[in-house]
Structures are given as C-alpha cells and as structure tokens.
Symmetry: C2
Subunit: 94 residues, 2 copies
C-alpha cells in the first residue's frame, strides 16, 4: 500500500461544504440525495465535492441500485487523527 498524502486530505477538508459533509458522515452512512438536501448547491456540485473527498481516501462509496451511499473511511480517519495528534506533542516540551 502506498502512504497517505495528508496534504491532499487537508485540502479536501479545506472547503466549508466538504467539511460539513464529513461532519454529517460522522453520524453514519448517507446517500447523496440526503446530503444534497442539506445544502444550497446543485447536484453536480455535490457530486464534484464527493469525488474530491473520495479521492482523498477519507470517504468511501457503496453503490446500491440507483443510490450512492457515502461513509467515512475509518482507517484513514484514524491515521489522520494519529498524524495530527503527533504534531507538537511529538516534539520536545519545556
């Protein structure tokens, strides 16, 4: 497996819509139409945001008939938490 590109994940989180989507997915799996209702953006725009989140690795898709169900990739999220928690606390303290 190739290593995680954290800058790409942070870039994915660096948009308020996408950040809110991740917070929504934190409650559990959600389909695209359900997420779309929440925002005042068009369907193609949401699709674009979901693509960026998926490509970062933080979000996964599960297809079921017509629906796309999105959920957080817990493994990647855990790695991300470890990464952030290692900043500063990993360094020397006075």
């Amino acid at each position: 497996m190739n290593s995680i590109d954290y800058a790409v994940i942070f870039k994915a989180l660096g948009d308020s819509h996408r950040l809110q989507i991740v917070k929504m997915l934190s409650e559990g799996e959600k389909c695209a139409c359900c997420i779309l209702e929440f925002f005042e953006i068009t369907q193609p725009t949401l699709s674009h945001h979901m693509k960026i989140l998926c490509e970062s690795g933080l979000v996964e898709t599960r297809k079921e008939g017509k629906w796309s169900h999105y959920s957080l990739n817990h493994e990647i999220l855990e790695e991300l938490k470890n990464f952030i928690n290692s900043i500063d606390s990993g360094g020397k303290h006075e």
Copy 2:
C-alpha cells in the same frame, strides 16, 4: 473571541510546503531564514506561506530585531485536535 474556522485551517494545511513547515515548527520556534533553507522556494513565496499559516491562526510570529520567529499556536492546535478527534468517535457506533 470569535470561533475558529476549521476549514480555513485545513486549507492552510492543504499545501505540502505549509504542512511541512508546521511539522518543522512542531520541533519549536524557528526563524524565517531557517525555514527557507529547508525548501527550494524563494523568500517571497515563503513569506506568503507564512502569512497564510498565521492568518489561519495556527502559527504565530514574534518579531525580534530583523528576525521573524514563527511558532505553533498551541491553543489553536489543541482545538484542532479536539475537533478532529470528535469526528466519528462523537457519533453513534454499532
């Protein structure tokens, strides 16, 4: 005090140069020229990156004579950690 805009912080971290700068600052305070040596970018470009990091709130400047000393804002970093750690683990689990 006004609330933290996490998307802005993530956007600041969403560039590989800036992410590496933050990792460097994790070791402790550093002056601009010291950081500059590490990268193959021009001085104005570094200055621009530092500005973005400072404006996000994650990094602070301390002026001393000709030098600018940069360091992590531990309070904001702690808030950021809390925020990320609250994602997913705050939701319901099966």
